[in-house]
């Protein structure tokens, strides 16, 4: 299967990058753990049907028919995203399985810093794959720009943590910056390394953006159905809808459940049922469907430019 083939090559690219760390007692293992835990480039799940780590390669191949020269960039994105995951775990401090919880924040910060440095090193390996210097500089510029956007989105998200009156517009803005920017970056880089023109690069960046927002909305729904976001008092799209539309006693229950200062641990089943009953999950599902549709419509524009979009369509279906 093409996924297994590409995942195997990405895996080898990352393993080669890790060679200089083989003497650093234990660090290499922690780096691998960070990459595997977050499904970032290493581990069996990378070869599953719709793997995010392969997206730059899939986009590059869809446009140009080749992808191997893009492998260092795909590896770089996985290393940088894994660094973000580790920092996220330190900031959230809500998982006993995370790297900082198990090894302490000092070791976790060092792992994250190493991942960032290795991500930058990975981009320079594009040179050995025959990518022109000017393109490598553009790749660095694009990656740095998206990483800055993701950090700004994370800052905004952290600043909003104590607030309940978050509008849908702000939610979409934060999601676009924090989560969708990763998918957008992967698509942008794939198109850039396929030597696509600016119009096509923009099409793929928009495809990645809308796909990323749809994916975050899907996570929000799962966060309710599994109860994980409810016990964390997390204000996600279904909750934003519910707080806007609910009245009286129903609204009071939601305010108590999602109040950040609340000491009460909400009953996930009761709140989940409430969110279903007022249409919050239905509304959120329609919004997810709408972003998926936008992603598909954007892809059809690429098809008009003679890009083979068949594999990319699979990512949405």
């Amino acid at each position: 299967m093409w996924q297994e083939r590409q995942a195997g090559k990405l895996n080898r690219e990352i393993e080669e990058l890790l060679v200089p760390l083989s003497d650093a007692d234990g660090l290499c293992d922690l780096i691998k753990e960070a990459l595997t835990q977050g499904r970032r480039g290493l581990g069996a799940e990378v070869a599953r049907a719709k793997p995010l780590p392969l997206l730059p390669l899939v986009v590059c191949e869809a446009i140009s028919g080749h992808y191997e020269h893009a492998l260092p960039a795909a590896a770089a994105l996985q290393l940088l995203m894994a660094a973000g995951d580790v920092f996220d775990d330190i900031e959230d401090a809500d998982s006993s399985e995370s790297l900082p919880a198990r090894y302490g924040p000092a070791i976790a910060i060092n792992v994250a810093n190493t991942l960032i440095t290795m991500g930058e090193a990975a981009i320079t390996r594009l040179k050995a794959r025959g990518v022109a210097d000017c393109t490598i500089v553009r790749v660095m510029d694009v990656v740095n720009s998206y990483c800055t956007t993701a950090c700004a989105g994370q800052h905004l998200d952290l600043s909003l943590t104590s607030k309940m009156d978050i509008s849908e517009d702000i939610y979409v803005r934060v999601t676009g910056m924090k989560s969708a920017s990763q998918v957008e970056c992967a698509c942008h880089i794939g198109a850039l390394l396929a030597n696509a023109n600016q119009e096509l690069i923009d099409i793929f960046a928009l495809f990645g953006h809308t796909l990323g927002i749809a994916a975050q909305i899907a996570n929000d729904i799962r966060g309710v159905t599994r109860g994980s976001d409810i016990v964390k008092h997390k204000i996600t799209l279904p909750v934003i809808y519910a707080l806007t539309q609910a009245e009286g006693e129903t609204r009071n229950k939601l305010v108590i459940a999602f109040g950040q200062q609340s000491e009460t641990v909400p009953d996930p089943t009761q709140i989940k049922d409430l969110l279903f009953s007022i249409g919050a999950i239905h509304y959120t599902t329609v919004k997810m469907e709408s972003y998926k549709q936008r992603a598909l419509d954007t892809l059809s524009k690429a098809e008009g430019a003679e890009v083979n979009i068949e594999r990319l369509k699979l990512f949405l279906e």
Binding site: E45, G212, A215, I221, F276, Y283, V286, M288, S290
Partner: protein, 72 residues
């Protein structure tokens, strides 16, 4: 994306039994009462075709989420 009309429509469907029944049997007739964008209309109809109304956990809801679950 502003969604006020979509929010109003879904609020009506979930709070008014008559509208809910009408939506279940003929979603187009309910859609016609609200000023939704073409994309919103399409998303409402797609969701209706896949799930009917999302009123509880279901295999259909899980299936709708599945393609996007491991993205972020």
């Amino acid at each position: 994306m502003k969604s006020q009309a979509l929010q109003e429509m879904i609020k009506k469907v979930f709070s008014d039994e008559k509208t809910k029944l009408q939506f279940m049997s003929n979603p187009h007739s309910v859609l016609a009462q609200f000023n939704l964008t073409e994309q919103e209309k399409k998303a409402v109809l797609n969701t209706h075709a896949k799930l009917g109304l999302a009123t509880a956990d279901s295999q259909q809801l899980e299936a709708a989420l599945d393609p996007l679950t491991y993205w972020t």
